[in-house]
């Protein structure tokens, strides 16, 4: 045993690399941007200090008290609207994912029938995802009328956009070997997609659909704010009537339902792949 192996035993160790100055540069740029956005948006520390105590007071009013209990007789109505919310999310997730699957198989670079098909598909997907779902819901509510149909359509478009995009990216990373063997055996483009690509991404596809469902449940809960169905309509109504105990109850029940669905879906996804 030597006394100081670090000094004597390893004479040939290369010198440690210098600390990358690029990291400092990146950190500097990030902070500069943060500062700039704070100035541009007029961050007001006074408002923060005054607002925070009020925040606590406001949330306090949402909680039930002995003189102001939660109106439990309101629950059946909430239940009906919650089920509508879940139906919107579920329907949108299923329809959107079903539409996304063939589109992703067509749009992936390693499968696409040609370069222009790929560029067209990718362009369309990017376009779809630039429209915020609440704005889409507002527009659709104006076209299809106030109600769950507008919400369903808006979230279907959202699901389609996100699942198709994620699936496209996943397909582009799959093992090309099986596709080569299907080609070598005389398989067509569609047979490549169906027999070589799809089995490789089937678990991912399911996981993405479930993920879209989780996001959709949360999104569907606020769709009512723009008149597109679900629990959000009741929430907004209660807020505008300043019926805080009702608002508290709605938020609480929605939170529980979202939590249950999220937990279940996450558990399901972890068992895939």
């Amino acid at each position: 045993m030597e006394d100081n192996p670090a000094h004597s035993a390893r004479p040939s160790l290369p010198p440690p690399p210098p600390f990358p100055w690029q990291l400092w540069a990146i950190a500097g740029v990030v902070f500069a941007f943060l500062w700039w956005s704070a100035v541009e948006t007029g961050v007001n520390w006074e408002a923060f200090r005054e607002g925070f105590p009020e925040l606590g007071e406001y949330f306090g009013r949402l909680l039930p008290t002995s003189e102001n209990p939660w109106p439990l007789d309101y629950l059946p109505l909430i239940q009906e609207k919650l089920i509508e919310t879940i139906k919107i999310a579920l329907g949108a997730s299923i329809i959107g994912s079903a539409l996304a699957l063939p589109f992703a198989l067509l749009g992936a670079r390693n499968l696409a029938a040609g370069k222009w098909v790929y560029n067209l598909g990718r362009g369309f997907l990017n376009l779809v995802r630039t429209i915020p779902d609440l704005i889409l819901a507002t527009l659709l509510a104006a076209v299809f009328g106030i109600g769950p149909v507008a919400g369903l359509l808006a979230l279907t478009v959202f699901t389609f956009g996100i699942v198709a995009k994620l699936l496209c990216d996943t397909i582009e990373t799959i093992d090309p070997g099986p596709m080569e063997s299907v080609t070598a055996a005389g398989g067509s483009y569609l047979e490549r997609a169906l027999y070589a690509a799809f089995p490789q991404v089937a678990p991912d596809f399911t996981a993405y659909s479930l993920y879209a469902f989780e996001v959709n449940v949360r999104a569907a809960a606020v769709l009512g704010l723009v008149g597109a169905g679900g629990i959000g309509a009741n929430l907004q109504q209660s807020i505008s009537f300043m019926n805080y105990s009702r608002v508290g109850l709605i938020i609480f029940v929605t939170f529980i339902v979202v939590l249950i669905i999220d937990t279940f879906s996450t558990w399901l996804r972890s068992r895939l792949v």
């Binding site: 070997g177 070598a184 398989g187 089995p199």
Partner: protein, 282 residues
């Protein structure tokens, strides 16, 4: 104990595959094949040797046009396949089985489903797109699995099999195509020596029984000499050797590899090298 004589080069008959002044230049300018002229006959077991980058893979892939020749002609059963439209090309490919170094199975699918992909080009599109394989095709696929000795694995997922078994599934998939030609691109490079010899024996036997023209890329010289009827040597995309295994001397080796034989060019020989392989090869 095969009694089939290796008479392919001597008896005049129509070649199954022929290369006529075939060259391949890749888009980056690399010339992978230069002016190749070759005829291959039904039932021949041909091993192609050469360093990596010599053009072995390119040569094999020209036969089913996974690589497109940039000059010259490739004929399969007399038909010039260069410039064939997609549908016609798929008909040609339907009868050319191919196996790969990495097996190229869909790992998550069942063994049977993998073998059935060999039937895709033989069935109408509506059937394959709906996944409705006729009973006779399923029976054929099962029979192919039986021939490679793993019928009991039919309903297992492909990734539960060992490397040697996966390569057998790939051979069964090629057989399900009822091919005239079998292409094998480094089929044993991912296998341990005993398994590698087993797979080579299987290929050799199938080639004999089905009168299949078999083109195999191999790195190991001893293996090439053990199993081949005919050896093709490539160097830098050019044909530098075409002849029997007896003609393969140390000099012809050095001509192909541009150096002496090294230990890593030789796979340790299996003790029980099969009789038919020896009688067929030497």
């Amino acid at each position: 104990m095969s009694s089939t004589p290796n008479d392919a080069p001597t008896v005049p008959r129509d070649p199954m595959v022929s290369f006529e002044n075939t060259s391949v230049q890749y888009p980056n300018g690399h010339r992978a094949l230069q002016n190749i002229n070759l005829n291959f006959y039904p039932g021949e077991f041909v091993v192609i040797v050469g360093l990596s980058g010599a053009g072995k893979s390119t040569l094999i892939r020209c036969v089913n046009r996974l690589v497109n020749p940039t000059e010259g002609i490739v004929r399969v059963a007399g038909q010039n396949i260069i410039g064939l439209p997609d549908g016609e090309l798929r008909k040609v490919r339907a009868r050319i089985g191919m196996i790969f170094q990495n097996y190229n199975l869909v790992r998550r699918s069942s063994v049977l489903r993998n073998v059935l992909t060999g039937r895709l080009a033989h069935l109408p599109a509506w059937r394959t797109l709906l996944g409705l394989f006729p009973q006779e095709d399923v029976q054929l696929a099962l029979a192919c699995l039986e021939r490679v000795g793993i019928p009991e694995k039919a309903y297992q997922r492909a990734d539960t099999l060992s490397g040697g078994q996966q390569q057998r599934v790939a051979i069964a998939r090629a057989l399900a195509q009822q091919p005239y030609i079998l292409l094998a691109d480094e089929p044993v490079a991912s296998l341990d020596p005993p398994t590698a010899h087993q797979v080579m024996r299987d290929l050799k036997q199938l080639s004999r029984e089905e009168n299949l023209l078999t083109l195999v890329n191999l790195h190991f010289v001893d293996m090439a000499i053990t199993y081949a009827d005919r050896i093709i040597g490539l160097r830098g995309g050019e044909l530098v050797y075409d002849g029997t295994t007896e003609g393969m001397t140390e000099e012809s080796f050095e001509e192909i590899y541009q150096r002496r034989i090294r230990p890593d060019d030789v796979l340790i020989k299996e003790a029980d090298t099969p009789v038919e392989a020896v009688s067929g090869g030497r």
